[in-house]
Amino acid sequence: MELLFALGLIAIKIALLIAMLLLLPLPLTWLERKIAGHMQQRMGPMRVGWHGLLQPVADGIKLLTKEDHIPAEADRFLFKLAPILALAPPFVVFVAIPFGESISVLNAEITLYVSNLNVALLFVFAVIGLEVYGVIFGGWAANSKYAVLGSLRTCAQMISYEIPMGFAVVGVVMLAQSMSLVDIVRAQSDLWNIVYQPIGFFVFFVAGLAEAQRIPFDLAEAEGDLGAGFHTEYSGIRFALFMVSEYVVVLLVSVLSVILFFGGWNGALIPLPPLLWFALKVAFFIYVFMWFRFTLPRYRYDQLMAIGWKVLLPLSMANIIITGIAFT
């Protein structure tokens, strides 16, 4: 009975999580287009629903009913596999992400995470690294020049930015003496990590931008020079899967920034429910992502590599050393 209850709870949590992650890209696309519009003194979508609120639904229906085109020369199996491979890892990662401590429903304490892994951080980085396979396969299988170039760029970019990203969070782990994300947040209940780890946060966030392939590091899908990069040949629902995965990664990087550096669900100044604090912080980071996107131009490829290896990597190393000397 006990076991059955626990299993049922996990199933419900996972279902909720998947529903949330699948539905969240809808408001996010709307938000992104609105922000883009207003930053360019336009209005963004206005005509479907109130202020274009139903625009993502219309776009979704359009994408679902579009022809699912597979190029004649494509490797059909890999071509079909790639969107799923790109989508699955960001979803899997959320298993280890805590959204808060716990809430009590009907006298039962329910934790706001699927599992509290003791190596959660390692798990997150290991799994999110797998996302690059979807991109590589997508670019390769399409058998198109643009797609291959895009996926080559993505590989190089993902691999070189994962290293500083991994090093950047070592400081956080040293401070919390734990790799469990819940413990990391608990360790920040007095003072957020951003105070101790500004360099770590800087490196993490820049590498996160690159990881999510957002401007200024969106070389993989640089519209100007590569068509659409690795998903040039994709259409319809498969293209939608790539888009969903992109937004989930944006969400993931925002959530990780909040958990690792901005105190997770710990509030400050105003007493609000922890879950609300968490959501507010994440929303702020998502806004920052979009703000960056419509402010900055794109880096050149060699600049991208130079930033990754010559700036971020030494910075993250220095951060580890400073943290080691100062706080342990």
């Binding site: 922000i35 519009g37 207003h38 930053m39 360019q40 003194q41 336009r42 209005m43 206005m46 005509r47 703000w291 419509f294 402010t295 900055l296």
Partner: protein, 188 residues
């Protein structure tokens, strides 16, 4: 000396991402500035200037007779060859067009027909909403051309409008001048 300070200043600015910061403040400022979008056709509609070259119209003289003398000069000068005039002679011995057709699907709205006309009979008016699902509907005959709206009198500006899917776009309230739609555009 000043150059050294200048350089040092640039360097300090660079290290503190001064350029990025100014970029972000700029976009943030824009984010909360008023959009310049003209919400056509939901809320607003643009009024053409009097020099605007829209849909053609044929004029009548004081007696209500069609001004066109069917000289076919407009058909001759038209670079797209989209005017077709067939003349006839009425009981007073005056030439008038029996058939006057403009294929607006081919027309490029150059206005040469207006310039060429010796009788000041044809001109390009203010109407710009005549899209159609069929290119056959875009061939406009003589009687339709006589009924088309003439040159704009007010000129420029934006007025409130409302989309009426049954008919064309309806202009609901039309202040004579409308508003200046450059008013929200930031020029720095």
């Amino acid at each position: 000396m000043s150059r050294i300070v200048d350089r040092a200043g640039t360097w300090i600015g660079w290290a503190l991402f001064a350029d990025l910061a100014s970029a972000f403040t700029l976009t943030f400022g824009y984010m909360f500035s008023k959009p310049v979008t003209m919400q056509y056709p939901d809320k607003e509609k643009w009024l053409p200037y009097s020099r605007y070259r829209g849909h053609h119209f044929l004029k009548r003289d004081e007696e209500g007779e069609i001004k066109c003398v069917a000289c076919e000069l407009c058909a001759r000068i038209c670079p797209c060859d989209c005017i077709e005039v067939v003349p006839y002679e009425d009981e007073n011995g005056k030439r008038h067009p029996a058939k006057f057709e403009i294929d607006t699907a081919r027309c490029l709205f150059c206005g040469l027909c207006e310039d060429a006309c010796p009788a000041d009979a044809i001109a390009l008016g203010q109407q710009y909403e005549f899209s159609s699902f069929s290119s056959r509907d875009l061939v406009i005959g003589r009687d339709d051309l006589l009924g088309k709206p003439g040159k704009a009198m007010t000129g420029g500006g934006v007025v409130t409008a409302r989309l009426n899917t049954e008919q064309d776009v309806l202009v609901e309230a039309s202040e004579p001048q409308g508003y200046n739609w450059w008013r929200n555009i930031r020029r720095t």
